[in-house]
Symmetry: C2
Subunit: 350 residues, 2 copies
């Protein structure tokens, strides 16, 4: 940006224009250039972005994973995270679930007219921090502005590219009868944290989201020689939806043991109060791994070395009969059918 350009027209800096996003910040003109040059590119600080071209250039080699997610969570900030950290960790985790190490992300921002610039800066800093924690780059991006009342502050899309580390395909189709199902930690915290923040529910101790990157523990399994059959993070729809999806895609049955599924006492209490089943509540830092039963012990010991998966436990197994069904044995040993929710428990959780 050449500040001494003789015929540059008077153009308000973001900080001179009420400190909010205006439609002109998405218009392709001087105000957009300033937003990009002075707020967005410096927040991410990547050489590829600084080339100011239409895309990033990467040197990729071999099997690659590619994924995308948009993030529309409300509120934008919640205990344990915000839409920025979520937008990085969520896509990072989808790559990890493909057995891939994240290399870089793209960032598509849809900003609503009137968004405080301070809010945007805080979200961008959170994205940068989450990306740095995973040693990945934010290499290309796009910013659009929609009129007031046509968005909701900020929506973020990230798409991610990762190098596949796993040698055999990881996915529902690789699940076998007899596989042990490992859950990486306690469930239900993200959904309850977001719901509490949105509805202003006051718990004695604030409940924090479990939002976290899962690359290291997930790849520890792969790199530790475990023939991982499937990995799945337990986001929208929770553990229940993930299990039903995998049972249906693999054409196998899943049996869970409820007493082995860790749910913190405060989460269980909140779920009871709100009439929710923890199995359906969204997580943003939890995953399930399907591994041969003989490898389950080694898998647990590998996972327990990482703080985020210290409480990993075998919670069930895969069966050949009752294809496509998921059941869960309760504390008295009686099995109940587990299904996805039909409708909506809590919208805009991610």
């Amino acid at each position: 940006m050449k500040e001494d350009r003789q015929f540059a027209p008077a153009c308000p800096l973001p900080s001179e224009s009420g400190d909010t996003i205006q439609l002109a910040h998405g218009g392709g003109g001087r105000m957009m250039t300033r937003l990009l040059d002075e707020v967005i590119r410096p927040a991410f600080g990547d050489a590829e972005l600084d080339r100011r071209h239409d895309g990033a250039l990467l040197a990729l080699d071999g099997p690659t994973a590619f994924t995308t997610d948009s993030y529309v969570v409300q509120p934008l900030f919640f205990p344990g995270g915000d839409i920025g950290s979520l937008a990085v960790n969520g896509t990072v985790n989808d790559l990890a679930m493909c057995g891939a190490r994240p290399i870089c992300l793209s960032v598509g921002l849809i900003l609503e007219e009137g968004l405080p610039l301070a809010t945007l800066r805080r979200i961008l800093a959170s994205m940068r921090s989450a990306a740095d924690a995973c040693r990945l780059r934010l290499v290309t991006g796009d910013t659009k502005v929609v009129d007031r009342g046509k968005g909701d502050g900020v929506f973020i899309n990230t798409a991610g590219i990762g190098r596949v580390v796993a040698r055999a395909p990881i996915g529902p189709q690789s699940v076998h009868p007899g596989d042990a199902i490992i859950l990486s930690g306690d469930i239900g915290r993200h959904g309850i944290a977001v719901m509490a923040a949105r509805e202003g529910l006051g718990f004695e101790t604030p409940i924090e989201s479990d939002c976290a990157p899962l690359v290291e523990p997930a790849l520890a399994l792969v790199e530790g020689g475990i023939p991982v059959h499937c990995l799945r993070d337990l986001t929208r729809g929770g553990l229940a939806s993930a299990m039903v999806e995998i049972a249906e895609s693999s054409g196998l049955a899943i049996e869970l043991d409820e007493k082995k599924i860790p749910v913190r006492a405060d989460i269980a209490a909140a779920c009871e109060l709100l009439g929710l089943d923890p199995l359906h509540v969204a997580n943003e830092g939890r995953f399930a791994a399907f591994v041969p039963a003989d490898d389950a012990g080694l898998a647990l010991s590998l996972l327990r070395r990482h703080p985020v998966t210290q409480e990993a436990a075998v919670i069930g197994q895969v069966k050949a009969d009752n294809a496509g069904r998921v059941s869960c044995s309760g504390p008295l040993g009686v099995a109940r059918a587990v299904d996805m929710l039909s409708g909506e428990q809590l919208p805009r959780i991610c």
Copy 2:
């Protein structure tokens, strides 16, 4: 989807629920699964999507381009295109401007509660058709639903991966003094078409957007042996913003010759009526190429073989003095300074 699951709860199909998108279509449960299984995946018909895993697996090799754009155009449908074709062609064109042949796209949908399902189907079909025209795959995606009044029908993000064909770096930093600047065709149609559709302006003959994929003509230059220095599509901010960005990024000056810039008579008349400068109006199927002056003749002949670039013309040149500035000689030979607009001419053009 197993329709005979004994304990599947009653779950309204999209077509049974008023034919509109509901919040539950984004909830991670049965309704979302049905939307994905019955509407979205079949529309795209890609084997990677049908794996129902967290990401796509690709075999990539060598230099790769990666780009993203979100699309928030209003109205969703306009003469010559719609948000779906725009979301494919726009990202395809960003890859082409990197000298890359598109391989695949991701698709992130943000749907507003109440969106007619028929509208979604029409947009998805348009995306598929645009992708097929470029022989590229829609390999991974995500769907979110936001509450009524927090979105605007449909927002789409696409991220694209392409194989870099160019041997030398293409970008503003490669522009040299003396380079000829080639414009691929007449300018201003997309912006005027969208504005006319939005404002209900009736022109004698409807003006159609120039929305089109630019891969073939752009790569014809690269593959035809032209040492292309820079390529830039002329979207938000139009020809003027693109030229100013490149002048500023390269630290060089750009001189344009107004009488060589093709503007259709109806577009010129509409611009005069609306008080717009065609140089600032957005295009979605036009680009500028910076090539050594000696190669300009060959470049023009290569471009003119493609219907979308039949009217390609040399419209200016790069100079070493007056770094960062763009000027345009008018019909009487008097040069005026060209700058980006400060504010917003027409929001949500793409």
